[in-house]
């Protein structure tokens, strides 16, 4: 499976990207992240839509997203094809279908590490890690918020254009990653 080979040799993605700057409401962003971080464990079904520039139609998938402290995130895709992605501490393991499990240390793949930060750090309430790669700005209020993350680190700027999270209180409703190459990935979490 090609993507796993790429994972194994790692860290080879070369893309160009620019970052937009945004004003932010620091207090609200902090509140939102703090609020999210209070949840010790969550399990939610998800639907995902990937719009990839090279493809004529979007790719859809669904499954269950699980998280618990500390630093454990599991994305079980059930349809259209089974896949299990586990991020535990500094190690990513991925198993597609019934194939063998591939392990990749995050230290070996900055691109993968960024993806992990983008997904896991908000759930952990880890403001420090998030702000290494992004500046945050928030709209709305705690009852219904929109959190925009704009890349600031060179690595993030190369890969990501913008990340938008939407949610209520300590619940994330959707996560939208707009990549620097134009691909868009939208993860909707069912309540």
């Amino acid at each position: 499976m090609k993507v796993f080979s790429l994972l194994a040799i790692s860290g080879l993605l070369a893309g160009m990207g620019q970052a937009g700057a945004a004003e932010n409401d620091v207090d609200l962003s902090r509140q939102i992240i703090g609020c999210l971080g209070q949840v010790v464990q969550r399990t939610q079904p998800f639907h995902e839509e990937k719009e990839i520039a090279a493809l004529t139609h979007p790719l859809f998938s669904s499954g269950v997203l699980g998280f618990h402290r500390p630093a454990y995130l599991e994305k079980m895709t059930q349809a259209p094809r089974q896949e299990r992605l586990v991020i535990d501490g500094g190690m990513v393991s991925i198993q597609r279908g019934t194939g063998s499990v591939h392990h990749v240390p995050l230290a070996q793949s900055p691109a993968l590490a960024l993806l992990v930060t983008t997904m896991r750090a908000p759930l952990e309430g880890d403001m420090a890690t998030l702000t290494q790669d992004y500046t945050l700005s928030a709209q709305g209020n705690l009852g219904a918020w929109t959190l925009s993350m704009t890349p600031v680190s060179p690595q993030a700027m190369r890969l990501v254009h913008l990340v938008v999270l939407k949610g209520r209180n300590n619940v994330i409703e959707s996560l939208k990653i707009m990549q620097a190459n134009g691909d868009v990935q939208t993860l909707t979490l069912d309540p």
């Binding site: 493809l55 896949e83 240390p105």
Partner: protein
């Protein structure tokens, strides 16, 4: 009525000897590397290979193991060492499983650009519609994966995985498991790192610095309970040189102190020490000079052994002074002991034939050093000493018969009892005859534990042990690379047959220009590729422009100039190629290291008839050398023993005495061999040589004890003097047993034990039985 002492002659002689010795020591440096002790190969080809391998790439490999702590902690230490050492200019590469992203950025771009020239699997260049359809389906699956978006650009640019294939081929073949992101041994909790140094393996000064750097980096990480294991040829060279230095220094100092104390205790005279100093200094320095002239250098081991030989060489002056009575003239003492002394020297020399003529440079040096030292000591004793001794009127402090000596002589009545230990040993020998171990590994100056650890680390890290070496030669780099490529099908065959796991050579990192041309010729022209892509994606949801970058990459590859060695300069791949591909005297050479060779012979046979290929099987080389040398040693030992026997017969001319002497000497040999058999000790070349040396010394003792017509005074003198000699020999050789260098240790143990027995057996068996002795006894 003592004559007036004239010790100034003695003092001047000593001063001159000391000056001479000092000159010799200053002008001849000691060599401490192991190369002088290893076989040098039997022809130009093998000599070249041994030299390249010992001094070349294999010598720069250092393997590290971390153990003694939980896995996460070991992983932390591995990452810490990697971080500290990777930026140190002393290291060419530091590998621990972590792919160094930042340092290899430029390399990655280069490899990505040249992927269609470098990837060895032709499948990646099969860009027909059918193959592409499968490849595109895989791309789609990859894009659908959770990690897909991260790699989408690369997936689309390289649908057939040419880049992955290229990078894979460059990674070392390691048999490790990846745990917490770093390499661990497959079967135990041990983190592993593989380093290569910039300094050549034989540059001991710089290699010692490298080791210090590694240890310091390790300590700086606060390792707690974790231990650091370091192994590799250079590490061995440094540690055995240091060990040898310590051994030589210790031997020099301790032998000196021991010998001086014993002699002072025996004679209670500084003048005696001065007198004995003359043959000591002269024999040591002349032996060194002769070894330097014969071999071109003096090895530390030979010198250390030479110092030990002091204990034997000094027997002669000690015998002279020990047998002298106050007031005796120069020839009086010699008249009594001269004959036995000459016989003793001759037999001791004959006891060294095995060592001198074994044909191994290291051992031959030891033998030559010892033989020259003995001869010089004997000549000085016979021709220079008498006048000096008389001039200074030197004689033993205590002389004449004494009750304990008489009592000891009384034990000779029970010498029949010695039959018991000798019989026990003979039976032991009969039950388990000595096994002769012809492995040359027994000669290795390295402890076996160290060798085993090295073997384990090599196996895990896939480092070839250079036991089978192959070199390919040609007029240019390209010719060498093409020769190496021509061998690839052969390696494939051997791998299929399970003879070896693979090979490491330059062509694996950098294909020849011809090969690169051949590869890009397989790529279709843009129009053909476009058509194939259009057909391949018909059933798949890719846009028409999805693979534009792929198409332009393939088109560029078709026009791209091939990658040359100079393009890789300064990159990690360049560093990997350099030691495998080099020029010597206008000729280019490529080294090929087979990995995990199961069957040396079939690999060697497979290469028979290949042009411009040199093969050397280190094991076979060493085994045949070792068998050859052991055989040669045994032959020369036999010659030495026969000559010694002839000398005895000729010198003693008395059946009874010959029988007593031979009986004493034979009993010593049987007992030593029997004890080895009881201990299950295999006999190596070293033991054989040491045994022959014991033979020489025990003959010497037996001859002195067996001298006829001895009055009680003379017997007491002989007893005391031989005890002194024996104590010196046993103690100095006993000191060798404390050595770090196994070769010296084995010699030390065997000789000390054998010589102690020689004294006991010589005294009891070779001497005449009091009162009930043969009719010619007084």
């Amino acid at each position: 009525m003592k004559p007036r002492r004239k010790p100034w002659v003695l003092a001047i002689t000593l001063a001159v000897s000391a000056l001479f010795a000092a000159l010799v020591f200053v002008s001849i440096p000691l060599r401490l590397d192991m190369a002088g002790f290893l076989p040098r190969g039997h022809d130009d080809g093998t000599r070249f290979l041994l030299r390249e391998v010992q001094g070349g790439v294999a010598g720069t490999v250092i393997m590290l193991g971390l153990e003694g702590a939980p896995e996460p902690e070991l992983a932390r230490l591995s990452l810490g060492l990697h971080a500290a050492l990777a930026k140190d200019p002393q290291f060419v590469s530091v590998l621990n499983g972590v792919f160094a992203t930042d340092q290899a950025e430029a390399l990655r771009a280069l490899l990505f650009k040249h992927r269609y020239q470098l990837a060895s699997d032709d499948g990646v260049r099969n860009l027909g519609a059918q193959a592409l359809e499968q490849a595109f389906a895989n791309v789609l699956d990859g894009l659908a994966s959770a990690a897909g978006p991260v790699f989408s650009d690369t997936l689309l640019r390289d649908p057939t995985n040419a880049f992955v294939q290229t990078v894979r081929a460059l990674e070392p073949d390691v048999h490790v498991r990846l745990l917490h992101g770093v390499w661990f041994a497959p079967d135990r909790t041990r983190a592993l790192l593989l380093l290569r140094t910039k300094a050549p393996g034989m540059d001991l000064v710089r290699q010692a610095q490298v080791e210090q750097t590694i240890s310091a980096a390790f300590t700086a990480l606060h390792p707690g309970t974790a231990k650091l294991l370091i192994s590799g040829p250079s590490v061995f060279a440094v540690s055995s040189a240091a060990g040898m230095r310590r051994d030589v220094d210790m031997m020099a100092l301790c032998s000196f102190v021991l010998v001086v104390s014993i002699l002072y205790w025996r004679f209670r005279s500084l003048w005696v020490l001065t007198a004995i100093g003359v043959p000591f200094l002269l024999s040591l320095s002349i032996a060194m000079l002769v070894v330097r002239l014969v071999f071109g250098f003096v090895h530390g081991i030979a010198f250390g052994f030479g110092m030990t030989m002091l204990g034997v060489a000094l027997d002669y002056p000690v015998l002279l002074i020990g047998h002298r009575d106050h007031g005796e003239g120069p020839q009086a003492t010699l008249h009594r002991i001269g004959h036995s002394l000459r016989l003793g020297v001759t037999t001791a020399e004959l006891g060294l034939t095995g060592m001198v003529f074994c044909g191994l440079p290291g051992l031959a040096q030891l033998g030559t050093f010892a033989a020259v030292g003995l001869v010089v000591a004997a000549i000085v004793t016979l021709h220079v000493m008498p006048r000096l001794v008389v001039a200074a009127d030197l004689a033993p402090y205590i002389s004449g018969p004494s009750a304990p000596l008489a009592l000891a002589e009384g034990w000779r009545c029970y010498r029949g009892l010695l039959v018991i230990p000798v019989m026990v040993c003979a039976i032991a020998l009969w039950w388990s005859p000595p096994i002769i171990d012809t492995r040359l590994a027994a000669l290795s100056p390295l402890p076996e534990k160290t060798l085993r650890m090295d073997e384990a680390l090599r196996k895990d890290l896939g480092v070839p042990d250079s036991s089978l070496m192959i070199a390919v030669s040609g007029g240019t780099t390209q010719a060498v690379l093409e020769r190496e490529e021509a061998l690839v099908p052969l390696w494939g065959q051997l791998r299929q047959q399970g003879r070896l796991a693979g090979v490491q050579d330059a062509a694996r990192f950098l294909p020849s220009v011809r090969m690169q041309h051949k590869r890009v010729e397989q790529l279709p022209p843009p129009a053909v590729l476009q058509a194939a892509i259009a057909q391949a994606r018909e059933e798949l949801p890719f846009r028409p422009t999805a693979f534009d970058a792929f198409v332009s990459d393939v088109a560029a590859a078709r026009q791209m100039p091939p990658l040359l060695p100079q393009d890789l300069q300064g990159t990690p791949v360049g560093a990997a190629v350099a030691p495998l591909l080099f020029e010597r005297g206008g000729q280019w050479f490529g080294l090929v290291f087979p990995e995990s060779v199961q069957d040396h012979q079939s690999v060697e046979q497979a290469l028979v008839g290949q042009p411009d290929v040199l093969v050397m099987d280190m094991h076979k080389e060493v085994d045949s050398l070792s068998a050859y040398h052991t055989g040669r040693t045994l032959r020369w030992m036999a010659v030495g023993c026969m000559l010694a026997f002839a000398v005895l017969v000729f010198g003693l001319r008395n059946a009874g005495r010959i029988l007593r002497v031979i009986g004493a000497v034979g009993a010593v040999q049987i007992t030593v061999l029997g004890v080895f058999a009881l201990l299950g000790q295999h006999l190596t070349l070293i033991h054989l040589i040491a045994l022959q040396f014991v033979l020489g010394v025990s003959l010497d003792y037996a001859l002195f004890f067996a001298r006829p017509q001895l009055d009680a005074e003379e017997r007491a003198r002989t007893m005391r003097t031989l005890l002194t000699c024996n104590a010196m020999t046993v103690l100095t050789f006993g000191l060798l047993a404390a050595c770090h260098t196994p070769l010296l240790r084995e010699i030390g143990i065997t000789v000390a034990f054998g010589v102690a027995l020689a004294m006991i057996y010589g005294f009891l068996l070779a001497g005449q039985r009091p009162h009930i002795g043969p009719p010619n006894s007084p």
